[in-house]
Amino acid sequence: METREPAIRIAGLQKSYQDLQVLKGVDLTVDGGSIFALLGSNGAGKTTIVRILATLLKSDGGTAVVNGFDVAAEPASVRESISLTGQFAAVDEILSGRENLIMIAKLRRVGNPAGVADDLLRRFSLTDAGGRRVATYSGGMRRRLDIAMSLIGDPPVVFLDEPTTGLDPEARLEVWQEIQKLAGGGTTIFLTTQYLDEAEKLADRIAILHQGTIIVSGTLAELRQLLPPAKVEYVERQPTLEEIFLAIVGKEKQP
């Protein structure tokens, strides 16, 4: 991490599915240790970018470099540097949570897989559920296990493809906290989302993917400047439904 080479660098990335051109020359750069949010509507191509970066899909043109390795030329080194949490929880339903973690720890060849598993179960408040089959887990627990599995071996770059889609508000907050902790520890996070508040809350930099290209990118403050300066208006602020929900179920909303 001495050199401040960007963690991810994409230039002119193109991808088509048959006649449909999904990516029409995508350029973006993600700094090491930052949280980068890629916004876009459904079908905009967010997952396609993630799958190319995770070496699961070949691009039709352009270059993509992750942690200093070209995804097309050095896929094995890229895989050593990343972990992917896809849109659908990539957990084994028939194994227990603990067995899932041990399996990944063995595949990543980390020392003491059982110790690593117990540690992560504790960190993600899954200790009690650790011995149960994942099939019995709630959506939030599954997602937490999924992210815990992605952290084994401390990969420097973590891809989270719509990490909170389908989660209830509490589970969402838990996932957000984990993402922030992770970035605090120096991991680069590349996340895709269709929730604007998620990007606003978490991301150091935000890019918007629309019709195959990045139409804007920058910090939240920079994006705000794209609009006319704020006018001061007096508005009676009603609590959002999320605030009401969280107040009633008795969880504090995190700052």
Binding site: R79, G86, A90, M103
Partner: protein, 253 residues
């Protein structure tokens, strides 16, 4: 990465063996139909079938085992299909592991689970009158041929699991294979069949495998049948492996 193939495959094998042992219903489903056939032919149809041998249970055993294997491998296709549907397949493929281990884990699991169901069926056979004086070498040959047959059909199952679009579709390929022993020497001598059916029965893989297993158990000379049987298995194995790998490469991009 190649140095990790064995340990990665070991982890994958451990995973899918757990899938087998934790769904006991799978083992029951796989063994119940062949056992039903065994009982049906032994106690219902068997009396009317003239095979020229005095122990019809002995005559039945090879075909019933092949039916068991043909239905057993459909679960390999099913398990692989489920991996592809969930995110776990992509997770494995985005990890620094040997990619072939993802498939080999399923293949080895198929060998283990089919060995278990074959053993159960042989035990049931022994209980209803299957007898053999075969020695250790003959038994090893029997196990070897069944293993190669399982391996060949498992790679067929892998193609199906990789390319199916529904879980029912993933398992459907096995139905014709399950049916194949009925048009062979597995239950009745082929001599009794009309011309074209007999020609098909005598020249399809099941007949040579069944005849070889029967000869090994009866302590008869296996003749050239064993080589025809092995050639069929090896041929299916090579072709299926090539197509399965092509399907896999398409899948992982």
């Amino acid at each position: 990465m190649t140095t990790h193939v064995l340990s990665d495959t070991g982890v994958m094998l451990g995973r899918s063996v757990r899938h087998v042992t934790r769904s006991v219903d799978t083992i029951i489903t796989v063994t119940i139909m062949p056992i039903a056939f065994l009982l049906l032919f032994r106690y219902v149809f068997g009396g009317a079938i003239q095979t020229g041998s005095d122990n019809y249970t002995n005559y039945l055993m090879p075909g019933v085992l092949l039916i068991a294997i043909a239905s057993g491998i459909s679960y390999t296709a099913y398990r692989l299909f489920n991996d592809l549907q969930g995110g776990i397949f992509e997770r494995f493929n985005s990890m620094p592991i040997s990619r072939s281990s993802v498939l080999w884990g399923h293949v080895l699991t198929s060998l283990v689970s089919n060995a278990i169901s074959a053993a159960v069926i042989v035990l049931v056979g022994l209980a209803i009158g299957f007898r053999t004086s075969a020695g250790i070498l003959s038994w090893l040959a029997v196990v070897g041929i069944l293993a190669v047959f399982t391996l060949a059909l498992t790679w067929v199952a892998i193609i199906s699991g990789l390319s199916a679009s529904t879980s029912d579709g993933a398992a459907a390929f096995s139905y014709p294979i399950i049916f194949l022993p009925f048009i062979s020497s597995a239950f009745v001598p082929t001599e009794t069949m009309p011309g074209p059916v007999r020609a098909f029965a005598e020249n399809q893989p099941v007949t040579s495998i069944v005849n070889t297993l029967r000869a090994l158990w009866e302590q008869q000379p296996v003749g050239h049948e064993i080589w025809i049987a092995l050639a069929w298995c090896a041929g299916i194995l090579v072709v299926a492996y090539v197509f399965a790998m092509a399907a896999y490469r398409r899948k992982i991009g």
